[in-house]
Symmetry: C2
Subunit: 147 residues, 2 copies
């Protein structure tokens, strides 16, 4: 009884996770990954549960959780199921930050869209002519030009 499930070389792992080999080693050094299996010769062999875990890390990094916090999360995981309440707490706090990030981006997107629309309007109203100008009245500036 064996068939020890898929073992991935560093290159395969990197490829599978969309993360560089160097970053993988860096995460390991930082204590974000638990001890990775090795071949007799000392080369790493990643398991599919390693893949799953790195995917979680990637999700957290995508959402700008600092490495320091990910380390804390990793430690809580190492502590086993007793630490689940703390892990849940950490994720709930982070979740709130992600929601804020999305809101901030959405707001910025609206601003950008507005600006694009303004440019479009200018380009439409003065297709060839180049004498007229300006978009926002940039209150205060006198030599106001479109930004």
């Amino acid at each position: 009884m064996s068939d020890v499930a898929e073992q991935l070389s560093p290159a395969e792992m990197a490829d599978r996770c969309g993360i560089s080999i160097d970053t993988l080693r860096y995460y390991e050094r930082e204590g974000l990954l638990d001890t990775i299996e090795r071949t007799a010769g000392g080369q790493r062999r990643y398991s599919s549960s390693d893949v799953a875990w790195v995917m979680i890390l990637r999700c957290l990094r995508t959402t700008a959780l600092p490495i320091r916090e990910m380390k804390r999360f990793a430690e809580l995981v190492r502590q086993g199921d007793d630490a689940i309440p703390e892990r849940a707490q950490l994720l709930r706090e982070h979740r709130a930050e992600v929601v804020d990030q999305i809101a901030a981006l959405q707001e910025a997107l609206d601003t950008i869209d507005h600006k694009i629309a303004t440019y479009a309007a200018i380009l439409e109203s003065t297709p060839v002519v180049d004498t007229l100008s300006d978009t926002t009245p940039t209150l205060g500036g006198k030599g106001a030009r479109a930004t």
Copy 2:
């Protein structure tokens, strides 16, 4: 005929824009801000159009446009209305990236929510007991524990 509109000191400007004085000076050095008015003694006085412009910069930074790109945008603004098509183009490209960012965050948020829900389920099903464990079947790992 004057009433030269509001002039802000560096501290007021920083406060108004939600950006530090140092960052404001840094942006100026980097060519993101056009020459700022000065008092006879050489101290900066920001106009409300400076505020408007810095708000745009802030919006772009919020959405992770690199300083280098903001510099390019600032240059296009300096070139006047002839450069509006290029400015619009730059913004459209950036807009697409912002949309991608939002999508990525949204996806990550779903993952986080899923994880939180899993933890909640564990905590609910085993309120005091600590013998049962695990969440995801972490395929492959044998000593699988909840992550």
